[in-house]
Symmetry: C2
Subunit: 278 residues, 2 copies
């Protein structure tokens, strides 16, 4: 999927919601846990219930790797069940020396048919380039993360009085284009979004941290949106575990729909602004 | 395996060599490529050929993930073939928000029986803590890496005139102890080793970058060794691909043995120094 197709999907659905399939076996509804294919069955039901309200799914690989070889079979089957209209993100946070990153890029873009993968920035250019070389695929680099630990290093000040995360974003933004490069910015960091938009006005941002982590969709949309929307807001736990009972699908659909409707409001403002200015 | 057992192995073998199983199907000897279990057969042969000269094996997960579900079966079988005396490192460079890192820790320490995993530092404390909570397991955090991209961010200067990698190492060293925490320092960065030893005199260092990447074993040993050896030097490509022909096992054994003998010399100096001072 390329950038213009992604924007088309956002306009068509009036949504920039991504549903995070951080599926933890121990948190599944009790009636599903005895099912021989519990995790996949759950994912399938969640996808069917939410696909009209979201434009993508984010698979957090950790929750599948923990299941061993079986976990990767579930990733494969889950990907196959996601409609081709939807953007498929591997939240894998990979990154290594060049020849190893090339293997990771091949893993997620060829062995598995993801549209995008999250990548860690610490090891620099040769650790990121191999991902960027794929056409119509997106590399989503960690910019400013949603967790408490973001304060440890991402907010360190550099000798030229920048935050470390700013150096990361501004340097890496020169290695790719808005056609192949996005950044992760946590919703809990909404106060930094105006600043981030000065550095990268065009790139899409993947925004985790709404829902269980407490970020505000209103703030994120207000400070992070650009003329193409420019946001993919991921919500995981508060959608997929909306109910732990037999009605989990309806509950997930309701929460996803609520987010979509809130987003529709923000998009109307945004696209209207653009229309007024053009 | 705990720290004292690791040191015992180093003394018994007179080696601190770790063999990196970055097994790339396309680089296997031609006569093996038609074998139905080519990668595992190769790993098995390399382990049998080198186990007397090394104290551990490092499995670079990227080279297995690229094979899809089959890759994780090969990891499982390879681990089962490594003798229990040997230290088993997952070179996986994971790290995410706390609840996700907990899943990764469980993956590599419980689902798969690794002794250690490499972890990326960018996301800070809650991304690293879940790994450190395992007893007799090691978290190996990226300190200063061997690749060219290390110059992009790891060598950035902070407002108090430190390199960014120094801040990473000194802060993270307070979260663990030499019993559960190691750091990656690339062999190509040997000039920084004296400095790094001032920050962390006791922690073991995992040193990649010898061989194909051009680092010097002499320099690394001279500047990085401490009274317990304190080094695990990984060599991948130059051991496992020492020959691309039918004699690949003997060739790998010869290269590994050469490294072991060079290491034996450095260890004699080191342990002799300690003996003389005690």
């Amino acid at each position: 999927m390329d950038r213009s197709q992604l924007i088309q999907q956002i306009k068509a659905k009036q949504s920039y919601l991504c549903v995070g399939l951080d599926t933890d076996f121990t948190k599944l509804p009790i009636h599903l846990q005895s099912h021989p294919e519990a995790v996949f069955t759950f994912n399938k039901a969640i996808i069917d219930a939410t696909k009209d309200y979201c434009i993508g799914y984010k698979i957090n690989t950790a929750f599948y790797e923990v299941l061993g070889t079986k976990g990767w079979e579930i990733i494969e089957k889950t990907l196959a069940h996601i409609p081709s209209t939807h953007f498929k993100i591997a939240d894998a946070k990979r990154g290594d020396i060049g020849n190893t990153s090339a293997q990771y890029a091949k893993t997620f873009f060829e062995t598995f048919a993801f549209d995008a993968i999250t990548v860690a920035p610490y090891m620099g250019e040769d650790s990121i380039r191999p991902f960027l070389e794929y056409k119509n695929k997106f590399t989503i680099v960690l910019g400013l993360t949603s967790n408490k630990g973001a304060n440890d290093f991402e907010y360190l000040k550099t000798s030229d009085d920048k935050f470390f995360y700013e150096k990361i974003i501004s340097k890496i933004s020169t290695w790719g284009t808005p056609e192949n490069l996005m950044f992760v910015v946590g919703a809990t960091q909404a106060t930094q979004l105006e600043n981030i938009r000065k550095i990268i006005p065009e790139n899409f941002l993947l925004i985790p941290g709404i829902g269980a982590q407490g970020g505000s969709l209103n703030d994120v949309s207000k400070y992070g949106m650009n003329k193409d929307c420019g946001l993919i807001v991921n919500v995981g736990r508060s959608v997929i575990y909306a109910s732990g009972k037999e009605n989990f699908e309806e509950a997930a659909a309701t929460v996803a729909k609520n987010y979509q409707q809130e987003m529709q409001g923000y998009l109307a403002n945004s696209f209207a602004d653009v229309a007024a200015n053009s």
